[in-house]
Symmetry: C2
Subunit: 430 residues, 2 copies
């Protein structure tokens, strides 16, 4: 930790936007969570070991041998045209009919978020996000000095009436709303899904207030019951920018995501991408394209879904069986996450070091809000550990919560010291 206490000799040279960029102390804690004796329910890493690695390896070797001169070369900033065509086929599963011309391939959907914020957001502009929302998006919005205003969710996702009221209030205050950022399906971290009726209403509200929607949909094909939901973008191509990713349906190691945007926006995204990275990896793009062309990828997604459903069931059953009264949680129908609310007076951030001491890790809820909410919340991931590990993790966690309740009852409400910086593990945390 000595770099945090050393004086930074470059401190007076940074841009204004860099002032708040300080590593969070909680990261050190999460480094500990990577130890094998800790059951980590913290990270959002997909279980890629379930892929047929022998077959994928053979595919990549052949790809290099047959088309290495292209696959090892620079690519265009917009991305490989054939991959963009395959991406349109993937989106069609959710009712989205877009043209490959309007797709840009990005370094995960994270880069799409960065580029969109770059082209749309001036410092002080308002960005709307669910309460809670994806920590990586909040970090990007903060980087561009956006003012994030949260809109309340319930077990059915974003509440239309809350959105309307927020927009009215901001309108009265004369504030400029650049877009609504939403993860409508199997939300991160909430685990909740917006039903069809609300989708129509949200689209109607945004259209009538002239607010663009960024629909982030990394988990859409990972539902545990029935057919994929119809994406927001399917019903409003002019106001919705759709973000997708192969990180959860294939593998995050290639960092291939995308944005589907109206033509003029897509053109700006390409110029912004070229300035940011010149071009995405050809090899990564060829790898994903080859996978989608030659491998039974829908079958693989089906097998991922079954695996994650089993893990979700293990988590929900253990929570049900073991969590002390007063604790509540969401019941995700897909995706990776359960969102837990601890009993009144408990503080998930203050509890985190004690949980890790008991060999279980989670992400405290405060990281998923830009405004200090979420102290009683934690995000639990069921994507990476196998079912027995999940059960063991929840057992340990329930014991920690029990003790916190005892402490609260004995000594009153705990007040954790407040910390600055990002309250989340990096993406490297299992």
């Amino acid at each position: 930790m000595h770099q945090h206490t050393r004086t930074d000799p470059y401190a007076d040279r940074y841009a204004a936007r860099a002032a708040g960029m300080v590593p969070s102390e909680i990261r050190a804690l999460f480094a500990v969570a990577n130890r094998p004796e800790v059951v980590s329910l913290a990270g959002g890493m997909p279980y890629v070991a379930a892929l047929p690695l022998d077959i994928v390896g053979e595919m990549l070797g052949e790809l290099t041998q047959r088309r290495g001169a292209q696959a090892l070369q620079y690519a265009s900033a917009q991305g490989d045209p054939e991959l963009r065509a395959r991406i349109c086929e993937v989106m069609a599963l959710e009712g989205v009919h877009g043209s490959p011309e309007d797709v840009i391939v990005t370094v995960g959907s994270q880069q799409a978020l960065d580029l969109l914020t770059r082209i749309f957001v001036d410092p002080g502009d308002v960005v709307l996000a669910e309460a809670p929302s994806y920590v990586g998006a909040l970090g990007t919005f903060a980087m561009y000095q956006a003012d994030v205003v949260h809109v309340a969710m319930d077990d059915e996702g974003l509440i239309p009436q809350a959105l309307r009221e927020t927009l009215d209030r901001l309108g009265r205050e004369g504030r400029r709303v650049k877009f609504l950022y939403t993860i409508p399906t199997f939300q991160n971290p909430g685990g909740v899904t917006l039903p069809a009726s609300r989708r129509a209403e949200i689209l109607e509200i945004c259209a009538s207030y002239g607010v663009l929607v960024i629909e982030d949909n990394p988990y859409g094909l990972l539902g545990f019951d029935g057919e994929p939901m119809r994406a927001l973008r399917a019903d409003d191509p002019d106001h919705v920018i759709y973000l997708g990713s192969f990180s959860k349906t294939f593998a995050p190691g290639f960092r291939v995501g995308w944005a589907l945007a109206p033509h003029a926006v897509r053109a700006k995204l390409v110029l912004a991408a070229e300035s940011a990275i010149l071009s995405h990896s050809s090899f990564s793009q060829f790898a994903v394209r080859e996978y989608l062309t030659t491998q039974p990828w829908k079958q693989q997604i089906k097998s991922f879904r079954e695996m994650y459903r089993e893990r979700r069931d293990a988590m929900l059953e253990s929570l049900e069986a073991l969590m002390p009264e007063g604790t509540t949680w969401t019941r995700p129908a897909g995706g990776f996450f359960v969102w837990v609310t601890l009993p009144e007076g408990l503080n998930a951030k203050a509890m985190a070091p004690r949980a890790i001491a008991e060999r279980v890790a989670y992400v405290p809820g405060t990281g998923f809000y830009a405004d200090g909410q979420g102290r009683r919340n934690m995000r639990l991931s069921f994507c990476f550990p196998e079912p027995d590990r999940i059960r063991e993790g929840i057992r340990r966690l329930a014991a920690v919560v029990e003790r916190e309740i005892d402490l609260r009852d004995t000594f009153g409400t705990a007040h954790a010291p407040e910390r600055t910086g990002m309250d989340t593990p990096g993406p490297d945390t299992a």
Copy 2:
């Protein structure tokens, strides 16, 4: 081209920084340059077909089969520790002794430029760059609304006295200089190299004026004579941030570059990278690390050097034999580029469509300046076409220049209409 004439329905929503982001008309021209009948001396694509693709393919296949669970997973935002250790070994060839702790792996060195500008530059801050300078860097500086001030070069690179005078003038004007961006070795586009004596002087000037140096060094190991130059960073670890890349020494298709920066700066770069892309591709990083660990990479660089030297020779000999009097050019001792100055009264940008009609392409000089200089200049690349194609390209180009001279002598100086937007091909242009 119809997207350029259509009204952009999102025009009133963009951030201020996006206002200037319009695709250049000249890009359409460069799309034509990709036709096989055109000899393209425009792009800076390395000749990756010279790699042993069978062996690389085998290596990647095995890597996936043996360590796919890691190589297909998320990485840390700073980058793979073992790759960072290998990177330090590569830099040691140029006298740089850095710690893997101070290295961040980036999506090409382009991303390092983006992240550095992000953390250092507020709108209106001055960035110094050689005249001319790398177009991708100028694009990034423009994206962050920096004010680029060019410093004159001659055949030995940046002129120390010009740097001193520029810093004095800016000082008198009370303007804040954030850093000097320089490519000291085999410069892009100039093809010139800063000798050792000037290196010491430039470092001394920057230290005394308190100006950071960003040393961009993608071509340093691609010298045609003798040992690699000693990098600027080797002699001033506190004021120099070093950028490197495997795009030219291995393959650009993995998009693996890096920055070596003082500890506090590196820490901010990692946070900025996480916000921008979450993490770089694990697979790309494992691929480069495996290549450096198991393959004879120094031998491969030697063979690249010999190949590029032969192409440089073909270009210089043809220029010497064929170019009309009054045309001058640089004589690069390494790297990819020759910088040509046309006779007085000629305009390289106006000439470009006529050159393409004669089946030869280059990049007009204006793209390499932020201030409208470079009309008489063109950048010629000798990296991608084989020697005979280079000779044929120069033959065609010399004929085009002859005709321009005739036109000038008959009708007087040509005035090309000025265009907005970036004057360069994308990275996809051969």
